[in-house]
Amino acid sequence: MKPSKLGVRLVQISIMVFLVLLMVLPFLWMLSTSLKSQQYILQTTPQLIPDPLTFESYTQLADRVNLGRTFFNSTFVALVTMVGQLVISSMAAYAFSRMEWRGRNTLFVLYLATMMIPSVVLVIPQFILVRSLGWVNSYAALIIPSLSSAFGTFLLRQFFMGLPKDFEEAAFIDGANYFTIFWRVTLPLAQPALATLAIFSFMGSWNAYLWPLFAARREEVMTLPIALATLQAGPRALTEWNMVMAGSVVSVIPILVVYLLAQRWFVQGVVSSGIKG
């Protein structure tokens, strides 16, 4: 290696190390803080490796919030929303890409138009609607309004348009009906797009804050982000940062694991949703 090349390589490596540290260190600090006891986090010389290491903030957290219930709520809401969105969006996408009917394009433009409306415009009337249905503080409020996803329909429709129709036509000639074709031929071919939508949907509900903050405040239906935000103490009491960080660990680990396992689909999702502009 020439000296100049070695220099370039060293610069590259140091930038890489810097970037990884910049992104990972805050998460490690979260983990480290959660494993310390209160008197050790309030030190002017911070230590990255907790010594002594203790899980007391996690027991403290379990005393403050119904951890099992909250974790279940988040998981349940995210999974049901995900399955619902996949079924409903893929069926609509099929109608928009594989069937020909009057008004198809007009209706599709309406779907696209609804994606432009800011969520803050929707949150008030949706709350009024959910309230008049008597759904406030129920799973229904958290799940049903987001089941029909214009974004999901758009994403899958674009993917279906790019799929070859040969298999479907062959199945049609063989006498299969639409539902069989959709279920047995199209959906298996669309697995990459379905995986992308599944992950985006799961991440969206798992991380949602604005809507559940007002639609589901009671403990029985509360999701992790809402519970987590309530852990901050009032004005005078000292915030127990080890407990807040323990809560953050519990709420962020599942989504980080999902991301690391299914990274490919995340990347694909961002790239394909980027194309829409």
Partner: protein, 302 residues
């Protein structure tokens, strides 16, 4: 369309299939998106606290908005956030994408790492950085003290809180923005780079005269996305300022103002009007951007 599967099928059978596939989605969209949009528009002309029946008051909500100092202050802070955040995020994302676009061993690990904050929720990210920005025990002021700077009170004071929130936001979004740019970078044909190399262009010249001009369509998309998203910023401003501090009392953006009016003061009509003004502003800015793009966005097909 010849390739359509519906050849030879007509009448009620065809519409039956269409209805079967479309109904769940369409009903959901109509009830939970379209109906609320219409309701919101109607509510914005009412005086309504959810308890007594709504009272139609023409455009009074919109008129009061014009003289509402709290609203204009929140708009002012929203613009301040945008003015600092958007150029910062735009540049950091671009620099990161150019770096990640190189073929270096181990670069995928870096890409994975930069995407971690993107998948974490805003609540978690806000809390982690709130702890990092803690004036007495936070890692950031500890680091600053290490190089001889006495760190500010960050999330207690308005101006430093604004900066802290922008830093946090750039950290969270950088990986996402870089990924959007990477899509654009990978669409640039090798032909251009080969031609530039034959002409003896330096790396800097290639970047300046080949990569960046061909990337302008992506830049345009990124800019619009950032503007649309940050006019609607909410969680970080709602969660990060220290409770009851000057920053907490001062720092409001449009969405936190809408949420306060709707859910703390029960002024549903007024809050709805505010949300429509925000939508109008976002719409107008996007429209202006679309008109301005001819001046700087380069499309290969032209």
């Amino acid at each position: 369309m010849k390739d359509c599967l519906m050849i030879g099928m007509s009448g009620w059978r065809k519409w039956g299939w269409v209805a079967l596939f479309l109904a769940p989605s369409l009903i959901g969209l109509m009830v939970f998106i379209v109906l609320p949009i219409l309701t919101s528009f109607w509510v914005s002309f009412q005086d309504w606290n959810l308890l007594s029946p709504p009272k139609f008051i023409w455009v009074e909500n919109y008129q009061s908005l014009l003289n509402d100092n709290a609203f204009w202050r929140s708009m002012g802070y929203t613009l301040q956030f945008i003015v600092i955040y958007v150029p910062g995020a735009f540049a950091c994302g671009l620099a990161l994408a150019l770096f990640l676009n190189q073929k270096i061993p181990g670069i995928l690990v870096v890409r994975t790492a930069t995407f971690l904050p993107v998948v974490a929720s805003w609540v978690v990210v806000s809390l982690i950085w709130k702890w990092l920005f803690n004036p007495a025990y936070g890692l950031i002021n500890y680091g600053l003290a290490g190089v001889g700077i006495e760190g500010p009170a960050w999330l207690f004071e308005t101006n430093t809180a604004l900066l802290a929130i922008v830093i946090t936001s750039i950290w969270k979004d950088m990986g996402y923005i870089a990924l959007l740019y990477l899509g654009g970078l990978q669409n640039i044909s090798e032909v251009f780079y080969e031609a530039a190399e034959i002409d003896g262009a330096s790396r800097w010249q290639i970047l300046r005269y080949v990569t960046l001009p061909l990337l302008t369509p992506t830049m345009f998309f990124v800019l619009i996305t950032l503007l649309i998203n940050y006019f609607q910023m909410f969680e970080q401003v709602w969660l990060m300022p220290m409770r009851d501090s000057a920053a907490d009392r001062q720092l409001e953006v449009v969405v936190t103002e809408v949420v306060k009016n709707a859910f703390s003061y029960n002024r549903m009509g007024y809050a709805s009007a505010m949300s429509w003004v925000l939508f109008a502003i976002i719409f107008a800015i996007t429209f202006v951007q679309l008109r301005l793009q001819k001046a700087w966005v380069y499309y290969e097909t032209e």
